[in-house]
């Protein structure tokens, strides 16, 4: 039995279904607010002299530029997209692989954990030149930076997830002589999935940052590279065009991870249902 939480009861005791606007407000509100901001921005840059065009171009000017330079922007987007996705997958896999020994062995946990935390304290931009020296000028140093940023939230959340299983549940497994592999497969891994997905969602947003940082260090294409080029040439409409695409890229990828989470963890929504009586 599920209860539709959008329903309300009015003073006469009748069930009321809220209007379309109210039911979709989580989507409508942020979009409406963003549109209002854009209108204000448009009006300011078109009818006042508060900001010169190279500081704050009008939204319509940015859209026009995106249309004119669609081909250039699309090819840059593809380059960055590949760096983000490949680096993200690599970082996530490395994070999961490291989480296993950390979750299972207190010795390995004590050995590796401080080092992993320290690896995050190192500014990525500072080791960029070193990565270029080691890995060359191609895609590899960018992928390395992306993976370096992604693996951290994944290793922390996955290790926590693998090891936070109820002790009674583990005792139950031992009481039927279940193998470690069966315990991992049937209990630890699915138990850790919600936490792993939290790590992946943080990771995917960091992945976009990582790709841009990587392109700033050494690149000849990509949105981060374009951003840097536009900035040095005071080409603000191109700069904002690249920025818009980076935001869209990040949001779309984040949504994809969330969709994957909902598909893989369908039981999580059911926790909002009202319990039945005994």
């Amino acid at each position: 039995m599920t209860i539709d939480t959008t329903l309300t009861v009015d003073s006469r005791g009748e069930l009321r279904r809220p209007g379309w606007l109210r039911r979709h407000r989580t989507v409508i509100l942020p979009i409406a607010f963003l549109l209002a901001l854009l209108v204000v921005w448009e009006l300011i840059s078109r009818y006042t002299d508060a900001f010169p065009d190279y500081v704050l171009p009008a939204p319509t000017a940015i859209v026009q530029r995106m249309w004119e330079d669609a081909e250039l922007l699309w090819s840059a987007t593809k380059v960055t997209l590949v760096e983000v996705v490949v680096g993200f997958v690599a970082g996530a896999l490395i994070g999961l692989a490291l989480a296993l020994p950390i979750a299972y062995s207190p010795t390995i946990r004590a050995t590796l954990y401080p080092l992993i935390v320290a690896s995050q304290a190192v500014p990525k931009i500072a080791i960029g030149p070193l990565l270029v020296l080691w890995l060359g000028l191609g895609a590899l140093p960018k992928l390395a930076i992306v993976a370096l940023m992604v693996f951290f939230p994944v290793v922390v959340t996955a290790a926590e997830g693998f090891s936070s299983v109820d002790r009674n549940l583990l005792d139950l497994m031992r009481s039927v002589n279940a193998s470690q592999w069966q315990i991992f497969r049937r209990v630890r891994f699915p138990h850790a999935l919600p936490q792993i997905f939290s790590g992946l969602k943080i990771g995917i947003t960091l992945a976009v940052v990582g790709a841009v940082v990587g392109e700033w260090i050494a690149a000849d294409n990509g949105l981060g590279y374009l951003l840097l080029q536009a900035n040095t040439q005071l080409d603000s409409t191109l700069l904002f065009s690249a920025l818009v695409l980076l935001v869209v890229l990040g949001v779309v990828l984040f949504i994809l991870v969330e969709v994957a989470e909902r598909l893989l963890l369908p039981w999580r929504q059911s926790s909002f249902d009202v319990p039945l009586s005994a």
Binding site: S175, N177, Q182, R186, S271, L276, A278
Partner: protein, 271 residues
């Protein structure tokens, strides 16, 4: 029901005759590190549980009854002493999957439906072919129609029914139950105890940890009262109430007499 009454009668008879001992605990002592010394949780426990016998371990929290249950189930190695199952080691019994365990919390997997939770131990022991047994089992515990529900959609009593079905799925002949109804409300709790009596089909031994006197009397062939710090067997009381027992047995004078007797033993043991 008549069959059950007969079986219960014969079980009592066999116990009285000193029938087959299933679980034998001898001179069991358990010490835990505490502060700079060691705390004695269990001290020289001797206990026999016969085949098909229902035995309750009764005592307040902290008397070591849960520790005793975990040692019998092979989950903790004892500091000293022996536990044998049909003369063999606990580890052999564990490998033969003879224990069915139910805890105070249902510890269901939230991502599995009721049916899949009940089948969990079949899955982890590679006995998926026995999954057909799950549906009748869920009927037995009163959960037919809820097979596809998730634990979050169930009440506490229903979750504990799933945990019971899960433990029964491997057809264990020794049930280890650690205050399985302690987190339920009083009404649900009484009903679950009566249901457990109905489900307990006499083909298994049950060791039931509880701190509720009337629950122990209603269910058990024998109640073992434990003292605390260190945990010792303070008294053993045989419950000679006829089976099958329904909820109405609680109203009988003999039930009240057992209640008074056990209360006396507990007060004596705990001051």
């Amino acid at each position: 029901m008549a069959q059950m009454g007969e079986r219960a009668g014969s079980s009592l008879g066999s116990v009285a005759d000193g029938g087959r001992v299933r679980v034998r605990v001898r001179d069991l002592t358990q010490r835990f590190p505490a502060g700079d010394g060691a705390m004695t949780a269990l001290d020289q426990i001797d206990l026999d549980v016969h085949a098909n016998e229902f035995v309750s371990l009764l005592g307040p929290s902290g008397c070591g009854k849960t520790t005793l249950l975990r040692i019998i189930g092979g989950l903790i190695p004892p500091t000293r002493g022996d536990v044998t199952v049909d003369g063999g080691s606990v580890q052999d019994a564990l490998r033969a999957r003879r224990f069915g365990v139910v805890f105070q919390d249902a510890t269901l997997l939230p991502w599995r439906t009721v049916a899949d939770n009940a089948a969990l131990l079949l899955d982890v022991t590679h006995q998926q072919s026995r999954r057909d047994d799950v549906a009748p089992l869920l009927r037995t515990v009163g959960l037919d129609g809820f097979e596809q529900h998730y634990p979050a959609q169930l009440s506490g009593g229903m979750r504990q029914r799933v945990a019971l079905a899960r433990a029964l799925a491997l057809s264990p002949d020794i049930m280890l139950m650690d205050e399985p109804f302690a987190s339920l409300d009083a009404i649900t709790r009484d009903r679950m105890a009566e249901e457990l009596l109905r489900i307990w089909d006499g083909s298994r031994s049950v060791i039931f940890v509880t701190h509720a006197i009337n629950e122990a009397i209603l269910l058990s062939d024998r109640v073992v009262v434990m003292s605390s710090r260190p945990g010792r067997v303070a008294a053993e009381v045989r419950i000679d109430l006829p089976r099958p027992r329904g909820g109405d047995v609680r109203q009988s004078d003999r039930f009240r007499a057992y209640e008074a007797e056990l209360r006396g033993h507990i007060e004596e043991a705990h001051g």
